[in-house]
């Protein structure tokens, strides 16, 4: 028996900011969930199950927060699942929800991911003082910066490519009312003059720390037929993982990322991603990850990703727009960041992305990764139902 086609009929998110001091965690997730239901014109009673994700519990210090969020998400008396795969969790949460629909376990599922980073300090949560271990000397940016240098060495990319990505994403964010950073006076010169934090990564090439939530309503063919607005159809979805550090790990272009993309393309019948995919919303917490992922995801040959960025191909009006929403560089509630990527892909193929809409986007890839390039999750959504 074939799988049930999965449609996204509702998308909702909060206005992402540094600190939402006016709401509890319950109030925050509620806001995104309510907006997703409103988009789908559904009520709590129409939801069969809730699948929720967030990054480590130490980020807020509430152990298993999903238990106390059941009331806020209308999940009392229904199945509720929590997913955790570090920074990629927003993507894998959506895929777990999608699989419940595809397997015909449930007809309509609410999926949601969040982080309220202002309640703690993510850097602290990621660097607990484990006895007998040498403390990490550099912080999150310092963990990734050596990989960026390795990419530059391997490809010969000019130093300026990272700043081009940051300048583009911050300008895209100005078109997205939900984005955290709205730097109206951004210029390329300002990005290039921003302080060098972890050389080769500058301040303006790093992501912010945000409070925010993102939700989607996923449903089956019958649910999509009742939807008031055009659905996004899932054409492929996959997850892969590998250890953070192992002998032979390619941190610049991890095998798990390549395998994950290949699986998605096979499901979706994508022969040439560069030609067959109209836009990409990918997880870029540090600007240089755009050219790195362009190669890892098969949009460019190895060593060639930076040339797409440099040529303006990934601009909003380019041939392959990347991070139309402003990306993780403009908004980063860690647990929600993966789902925001997936949701942006859905908005694009639904034609509902507003000012950052890519004209005629029919097939868009949403991508997330997490840990030390350890977990990957991706989906490809289209404006038309998948050919069965």
């Amino acid at each position: 028996m074939s799988k049930e086609p999965v449609a996204v009929v509702g998308v909702g998110q909060t206005k992402h900011v540094a600190a939402r001091r006016d709401v509890s965690i319950a109030g925050l997730v509620r806001e995104a969930a309510r907006r997703a239901l409103d988009d789908a014109e559904l009520s709590w009673a129409d939801i069969d199950a809730v699948v929720i994700g967030k990054a480590p519990d130490f980020f807020e210090g509430v152990m298993m927060p999903e238990l106390y969020l059941a009331d806020a998400l209308g999940a009392v008396g229904k199945p509720m699942l929590r997913v955790h795969t570090a920074g990629s969790v927003g993507g894998s949460t959506a895929l777990v929800a999608a699989n419940l629909v595809a397997a015909r376990v449930h007809g309509t599922v609410l999926t949601l991911a969040f982080e309220k980073q202002s309640e703690s300090n993510a850097m602290w949560g990621l660097s607990l003082p484990i006895p007998f271990q040498q403390p990490l000397l550099a912080g999150a940016g310092g963990f990734f910066a050596p990989h960026v240098r390795a990419y530059m060495r391997r490809t010969g990319a000019p130093d300026t490519v990272g700043s081009l990505v940051a300048y583009k994403d911050r300008r895209n964010a100005l078109k997205n009312p939900y984005a955290h950073l709205h730097e109206h006076d951004i210029t390329l010169e300002k990005v290039q003059a921003s302080p060098m934090l972890w050389d080769p990564i500058r301040y303006s090439e790093t992501c912010p720390s945000s409070d925010g939530a993102c939700a989607m309503v996923l449903t089956d063919r019958a649910g999509a037929a009742r939807a008031p607005r055009p659905p996004a159809w899932m054409h492929g979805g996959a997850m892969r993982s590998e250890p953070t550090l192992f002998a032979g790990k390619d941190a610049v272009s991890p095998q798990a990322g390549k395998d994950c993309a290949a699986d998605v393309y096979r499901q979706a019948g994508i022969a040439d991603p560069r030609r067959d995919i109209d836009a990409v919303e990918m997880y870029v917490p540090f600007s240089w990850y755009e050219p790195m992922w362009l190669e890892n995801l098969g949009f460019a040959d190895e060593g060639e990703g930076w040339k797409l960025t440099e040529a303006g191909v990934t601009e909003l009006d380019g041939d392959l727009p990347v991070n139309m929403s402003g990306g993780v560089l403009s908004t980063n509630p860690i647990g929600a960041s993966g789902m925001i990527r997936f949701a942006e892909a859905a908005l694009q193929v639904r034609g509902l992305a507003g000012e950052h809409q890519v004209e005629g986007a029919r097939r868009v890839l949403g991508h997330a990764y997490g840990g030390g390039s350890q977990f990957f999750s991706m989906w490809l959504v289209g404006s038309q139902p998948p050919a069965s």
């Binding site: 600190a19 939402r20 001091r21 006016d22 709401v23 509890s24 319950a26 109030g27 509620r30 709590w44 130490f58 807020e60 210090g61 009331d71 806020a72 998400l73 209308g74 009392v76 309220k116 202002s118 309640e119 703690s120 300090n121 602290w124 949560g125 607990l128 003082p129 484990i130 006895p131 007998f132 271990q133 040498q134 403390p135 990490l136 000397l137 550099a138 912080g139 310092g142 910066a145 050596p146 990989h147 960026v148 240098r149 390795a150 060495r153 391997r154 302080p195 060098m196 934090l197 972890w198 050389d199 990564i201 250890p243 550090l245 192992f246 002998a247 032979g248 790990k249 941190a251 610049v252």
Partner: protein
């Protein structure tokens, strides 16, 4: 076999909580000796209050004052109070349904022993002397045989309401790095770096993990590596990290020790930060009283060719 190491690990952080409207009213109420519940769509009063109706999922904001007297619905005796609990002498954990509420609140009951507790007994709030807007503003409950108190019908609106609290959390663990890492750490005290080789793929892991993450098999063959190695990649850190007494800028590098099949991470010294490069040959610098090398410094050898370390970034 050398002794497997163990050490305490305390995970401690002062988390902040944005309360939202309902918890804000509840905790501000405690500060003012007012107990508030919230009315659900079907008319029940929940204490402590929640923001969303557990049955209908509606947003609920109708705050109702309840009494400081109530009835124990169930209990358990706590023989040995732990740090941070409401009382430092043995007490009963009780669920108390306050007069006017339909649900019960968890708190402590101050009685001399378990014989003095029973389900159905009447109790009353004992307020803390100093109240800040926290659940600890209720010091505990105490036995009570008077008339039910009559709530004054407070609206739940306060001047100077609390909107956030700090909730300090602490978890105490006993941490053990296990057999393989213990052996590695013991060897470090002789200033030797000893890894383990995978019997299947032959890769040498330093520090060793006791198993190969690629092959999924146990490792036991010990291999001494280094002490010299090659900087495979690095970054220059320009921001001072909390709790780290290192002057910036400094270089944080991946170093492939000779004989190891993946890089470890360490600081480079003994050379201006802007002269560090990929391929630089380095050796450890040990200081007395420190388990790990303080940093690595150049050996003076010619740089390694890129092809010799490009798989070890």
């Amino acid at each position: 076999m050398p002794q497997v190491l163990k050490a305490p690990l305390a995970v401690e952080f002062p988390f902040t909580r944005s309360l939202g409207p309902v918890q804000s009213a509840f905790l501000t109420g405690l500060r003012e000796r007012v107990l508030l519940g919230v009315k659900t769509v079907d008319g029940r009063v929940l204490v402590p209050p929640v923001e969303y109706d557990p049955v209908t999922a509606d947003e609920i904001r109708d705050l109702v004052e309840v009494a400081g007297t109530g009835t124990v619905t169930t209990w358990a005796w706590n023989h040995e109070p732990r740090r941070g609990q409401p009382l430092d002498t043995p007490f009963a954990w009780v669920l108390v349904r306050l007069d006017g509420a339909d649900t019960a609140l968890l708190h402590a009951l101050d009685v001399p022993g378990p014989d003095a507790v029973r389900t159905g007994m009447r109790v009353r709030v004992r307020w803390a002397e100093e109240r800040t807007g926290a659940i600890t503003d209720i010091a505990c409950f105490e036995p009570y045989d008077g008339e039910p108190e009559q709530p004054a019908g407070h609206s739940g609106e306060f001047e100077d309401a609390i909107t956030g609290i700090v909730a300090a959390a602490r978890l105490d663990y006993t941490y053990s790095p296990g057999r393989a890492q213990s052996a590695y750490i013991h060897a470090l005290s002789d200033r030797r770096m000893v890894g383990e080789r995978c019997p299947s793929c032959r890769k040498v892991y330093v520090p060793p993990r006791g198993a190969c993450p690629t092959c999924g098999v146990a490792t036991s063959e010990q291999v001494e590596v280094g002490p010299r190695g090659t900087v495979t990649t690095f970054c220059i850190v320009n921001i001072k990290a909390k709790n780290l007494d290192i002057e910036v800028p400094y270089v944080y590098a991946h170093i492939a020790l000779d004989g190891a099949d993946l890089a470890l991470h360490a600081r480079i010294g003994g050379i201006p930060y802007d002269q560090v490069r990929m391929g630089l040959r380095v050796e450890p610098v040990w200081t007395d009283g420190s388990r790990f090398p303080d940093h690595y410094r150049p050996t003076g050898e010619v740089d390694a060719e890129y092809d010799t370390y490009k798989e070890l970034l």
